[in-house]
């Protein structure tokens, strides 16, 4: 039988209260959100906090909105809420793709977006998605808030820049015209961590809607002229990518034509920048192969979405350019 070790427990009633509790109980206190990473770690004694500060009552941290040209996701948003969010899918289909394959539906009901990010597992899916989207993390501290680029959020496996007295409160993604995004994951079985996974985002010159009548079937073949790539984001997880991203491949894509040849080269560059390790999920060379192939596949789908829908999931409305 696995049970957590003895622990103190406090229920926070607001972000300010949670910060005050963190200050009072010191560095051995941990924020308890969904607990679907922390409680298993406590059962295994891999985490032994002295005090849990339960933030599940903080509805102020549970939301998905579009504000000031940004998609903003509260840190306590459950995975199921992000999966169900038409707003999120419309602007950034990669989030919907990724949520579909995170754990299982029952775990998604209670596990939170912020909790997953703060757990900082090197195989975590949203870390790659937010890296691809060049998201910004908002961190609250007693003096106010600070923001950190998603790619600078992690300081190592299971380590983030969130200091003992701080709380991750929000994830922000700038909405830009001409965008499309997608997530591709290979796992061993339903609900498992990825063997490898890649999220890609593309922004095309000219807003991506210039070929309004383009049929999705043609775009999916990927061989058509896709225009010029204004910007690209590639996020990888479980394959030892520095900062969950492939900066060299992104740089190569910027200004390049959106073609199969460009994507193939980007895949090679992405794979070359990874340092996967062999483990029970697969050998390193296979993971490197996945990094290349899944980069190509996700770029293909991202392009199809950028051209046909201006950024969102198939069936979604064109993205708000405001």
């Amino acid at each position: 039988m696995q049970v957590p070790a003895y622990v103190e427990y406090e229920k926070a009633t607001s972000v300010a209260h949670a910060l005050a509790l963190l200050d009072r109980f010191g560095p051995e206190a941990r924020i308890l959100a969904g607990g679907h990473s922390l409680i298993p770690m406590m059962k295994l004694r891999l985490a032994q906090p002295e005090t849990l500060i339960d933030i599940n009552g903080l509805s102020e941290l549970s939301y998905i909105t579009v504000t000031a040209g940004e998609l903003r996701i509260g840190a306590l948003t459950r995975h199921a809420q992000l999966l169900d969010s038409g707003e999120a899918a419309r602007h950034f289909a990669v989030l919907h793709d990724a949520e579909l394959v995170i754990a299982d539906p029952v775990v998604r009901n209670w596990g939170t977006v912020g909790g997953s990010l703060c757990q900082a597992d090197p195989s975590e899916d949203l870390s790659a998605a937010f890296a691809a989207l060049k998201a910004t993390m908002v961190i609250a501290h007693p003096g106010g808030t600070r923001t950190v680029p998603a790619r600078d959020f992690y300081t190592g496996p299971y380590e983030t820049v969130v200091a003992p007295g701080e709380i991750l409160t929000e994830i922000r993604i700038t909405i830009r015209p001409g965008g499309g995004s997608a997530y591709e994951k290979v796992g061993r079985r339903a609900g498992d961590w990825p063997v490898g996974a890649v999220g890609s985002a593309l922004w095309l010159d000219g807003g991506g809607l210039d070929c309004g009548g383009a049929d999705r079937g043609g775009a999916d073949r990927g061989g058509l002229d896709g225009g010029i790539i204004a910007d690209a984001g590639i996020g990888l997880t479980a394959v030892g990518a520095p900062h969950f991203a492939a900066a060299g491949a992104e740089e190569f894509l910027r200004g390049a034509p959106a073609t199969e040849e460009s994507f193939a080269r980007a895949g090679e560059l992405a794979a070359a920048s990874c340092q996967p390790v062999s483990d029970q999920r697969g050998p390193a060379d296979y993971k490197r192969h996945l990094a290349c192939e899944l980069t190509i596949r996700s770029l293909r789908r991202a392009l199809a979405r950028a051209r046909t829908h201006g950024g969102g999931a198939p069936g979604g409305a064109p993205q708000d350019e405001g």
Binding site: Y6, Y9, H36, P40, A103, D104, P105
Partner: protein, 193 residues
């Protein structure tokens, strides 16, 4: 094994202060002193004696412990009892109404949806939630909804059939003329608790 925990629990009680929690389980309010580290599944089984929910893998993989927390199915081996303080919990004991089986339970009986029965309470709680929100799910949608729950006996085929049976049964009942309150069906279920 199940008997070991209460003894350990009592021993710890002498050493550490408990906290008081109140939650509504199957419509009944319960207040208890518990340790903060107590898992919801053990609270339900050992403190309240509701042994219908099963304590399985302990790693949030198998789903035998699925109960509803407020309105959503969760794996109660990975939720602290303290986290349910002030909330509503619904367990498999609440499915049958007035001695009459829920259509999901009838479906499992009709379609042989269980063999050893260990996974069944969790399967049924997730299935009930699915039908409340998607009254006519495809086999694929049922498989997806239950994908976080393991059955080592049935191969899942009969579980999917059981949920389909319940879906069709409820549709028939609704068509049959919207009997009054108290009749089983997706509309009434889960409300007023």
């Amino acid at each position: 094994m199940a008997g070991a925990r209460p003894a350990a629990h009592r021993r710890m009680k002498a050493e550490h202060d408990d906290m008081q929690i109140t939650m509504t389980v199957n419509g009944v309010s319960h207040t208890r002193d518990v340790e903060a580290r107590l898992l919801l599944i053990h609270f339900l089984r050992d403190d309240l004696g509701l042994t219908g929910s099963h304590w399985g893998c302990d790693t949030s993989n198998c789903g035998a412990c699925v109960v509803w927390l407020d309105e959503t199915p969760v794996k109660s081996c990975t939720v602290l009892a303290a986290m349910a303080d002030g909330r509503r919990v619904r367990t498999v004991e609440d499915l049958a109404l007035g001695g009459r089986l829920d259509p999901v339970q009838q479906g499992f009986a009709e379609c042989h949806g269980l063999q050893c029965g260990f996974c069944t309470p969790g399967m049924m709680m997730t299935a009930r939630w699915l039908l409340d929100h998607h009254p006519d799910p495809s086999a694929e949608e049922i498989r997806e909804a239950l994908s976080g729950q393991l059955c080592r006996c049935t191969g899942y085929e009969n579980i999917v059939r059981s949920v389909r049976w319940a879906s069709e049964h409820e549709a028939r009942e609704l068509r049959a003329g919207q009997h009054g309150p108290g009749e089983h069906g997706a509309v009434q279920h889960g409300e007023g608790r």
